[in-house]
Structure formats: C-alpha cells, structure tokens
Symmetry: C2
Subunit: 211 residues, 2 copies
C-alpha cells in the first residue's frame, strides 16, 4: 500500500532505522516484513517470540520525534495486543481506534475488543465502521452489501464515540493495490469525505479526551 515492499531496515548507533515512505521522511514504518528474506516467508512464531519483537519495535527503533505512532494490529485479543499495550503504556498512548464492519458477527468480535480495552485500561478513541454499503458505479444506487448500522449501534450501546462509516469504494481499493495517493487522485470519491471526517475527529477530539 505504501510502496515499501522489499525495503530493508538498517542499524544505526541509536537502534534500527525505520523505513521512510517519502523524501520528507514524514512517515516512517517498521514491520516484521522488512526483516524477512522473502515476502512469501511465513512468520511461524509462537507468542513469546512475537511479544519480544513487539517490545523491540517500541524500544529499539530510532523513531525520533513522532506526532503519532499508529500500531495496526490483527483482529483479536491475544499476544500481539497485550504486548503492544504493555510496551506502550509508559508513553501514555492516546488509545484504541476500533474498526468494525456492519455485520453482527463482526460487531460481536469488536464487543470483545472493547472488553479487552477496558480490562487493560486502554482508552477507546472511537469506533469506525468500514465496508458500509457500496455505491454502484453503473447506476449510483447504494446497496448495503452487509447489514447496516452495526458500528453506530455498538457505539451507542457501549458509550464510545462513533467516528463515522467508510463505504466500499473500488477507487480506494485500487489505490491501495497500486500504492497510489488516493487523497490526490480521487477527491470526488465517496470514501474521501468519510475518511477525511474521521481523521479530523481523531485529531481534534482525541487530545481533549486525554486530559
């Protein structure tokens, strides 16, 4: 998605140097993918080894001064999540941005994620609903591919802010496939105002919630 595949991580005096996405070095990345020899290699690791690497990604990477550190976790409430919460706790993380899709099955998983956040003392910045309906490019009618409103309903039930819904958008998925700049290339796309509004809410409301 960020055209960073195949890039390598180097070592400097203050630790691992993250991979920079752009020339201005405005986005830096770290991933186990950069440490593997082949992109097909499976990371067949049990929990303790994963936990150790997650701790290293927090402590041993020369991140420099960051505005935001985004940790993209797999679904679930297991080793990766516990390791990330523990490693970042001393830095006072802003909290969890919880993403669901509209179906009841997915909302059920996310309810358990919210329980995990409560148990581990991690604040929930808000809930985002992804894959919320599809606007047909042929007839412009919107269809709910999955069911509807699960994210907003879950936010209401659990007393967590609802940040918005992102529709299924072939232009967005194509941009991610090709590593293109969606914001520059598709400002008219239906996913654009949705993503922009969610980002604004996170940036403006989150610091207030921390105080």
């Amino acid at each position: 998605m960020l055209r960073a595949q195949g890039r390598a991580v180097h070592q400097c005096d203050s630790g691992w140097v993250p991979v920079f996405v752009d020339q201005e070095q405005s986005i830096s990345l770290m991933s186990v993918g950069f440490l593997l020899e082949s992109p097909d290699e499976a990371v067949v690791w049990r929990g303790p080894k994963k936990n150790a690497l997650i701790k290293q990604f927090v402590s041993d990477v020369a991140w420099g001064q960051l505005d935001y550190l985004v940790v993209d976790t797999p679904p679930g409430t297991s080793d990766e999540h516990m390791a990330a919460v523990e490693a970042l706790r001393p830095y006072g993380p802003l909290g969890a941005l919880v993403v669901t899709t509209p179906q009841a099955v997915s909302v059920g998983d996310v309810r358990r994620e919210l329980t995990f956040c409560r148990k581990t003392g991690l604040q929930v910045v808000g809930i985002v609903e992804n894959m919320s309906g599809f606007v047909c490019p042929h007839c412009t009618e919107c269809t709910n591919v999955f069911s509807r409103g699960g994210g907003a309903e879950l936010a209401r039930l659990t007393g967590v802010p609802f940040l918005g819904s992102v529709p299924l958008d072939p232009e967005l998925t194509r941009s991610l496939e090709e590593g293109r700049d969606f914001i520059r290339d598709f400002p008219q796309s239906p996913a654009f105002p949705a993503l922009s509004s969610i980002a604004q809410k996170v940036l403006s409301e989150a610091p207030a919630r921390l105080s």
Copy 2:
C-alpha cells in the same frame, strides 16, 4: 450464523458433549464461546493457554463418528494454526482449504499461509476466492469491489487447485446475520452455484488427492 449462541457444553463419561445445531444431530459444534459466561467476554489468553484448549477440543470432546471435522482458524500462521496442525496430525487431516479475497494485500497474506502449510507438511486442498465482485441488485451490473482474479492467479503461481470464486451477495450476508438457511431460501442467488460447486469439488477431489 448457526443460531447456537448461548448454548452450553455438558460433560458426559467420554468427555465434553458438543453443541448440536439440528435435531438430526448432523452438525455438532465446539467453540470457546460456549465456555464463556458472557458473549462480550474477551478471551485474553496468551499462546500456551490457547494451545492447551485446542488440544482439548480434539482429544476431550465426544465427537463420535464424523464424516468431516472443519476447523475455522483466524488468519495468520501462529499458535492456533500450529496447535491445530499438531493435534490433528495423528488423524491424517485432509488438508487446508485456503480462503483469500482478490486484493494483492490479502493474496500476500495467503502466500505466507501456503508457506506455513508446506513447512508443517499440511496438504492444501485448494484456494477459494471470497468477495469476488458485487452484482448490483438495482442494475444487475457486476463491479469488482476489490481487484480481480487474485485467487486464481495465486493458485496458478503456487501449483495449488483453484476451487472457485464466491461473489459478495447481500442475500448470503443477510442469511448469515439472521441464522437462516441460505440454501433453502435463496437458490437463485449468485453465491449459491459458486458455493455449491466449491463444496462438490472438495467432496469429490479431496479424497483422491489423499491417496
């Protein structure tokens, strides 16, 4: 999906009695969900505890005589996958049915799953592509919501059988939401022939591949 939420697991002389979905007891289920007190409870378990439960689900459940045992795993190549492969190895499992979506990002994950299967000696029955295009119910035009053909291409590259593509289908997702019988209620739905053909291929080709 199977209207089994809230059902409980009981103990008999030969172990845990699985939950039966229908009166004929043609489908029996076991899930950690049946062992929790509340559906919102998060299973905040590290690897070793998950591994132990997966072993128990194989050895301590009174499964009786089964035609097929289906293990639905999370994505990835971690504790759950290793524990399931190890626990089932003495029973000569048929193999892995690998599901991807069409995008390159998802196909990349699945390449690593295939590497995992090779490393652990698990045969791959075939690849299924899910969420392959959306037939608009308003204008009947088909749109590739994600990109196209990733599953078939991956099967070709890795020499694994390609079993078919399942389109995004609001009638299927609604059936799963409401625990309805999709096969009985929506035989005209575009996902029906796709699912039926994949099931036939698994049933007819898989035993031959085992010999």
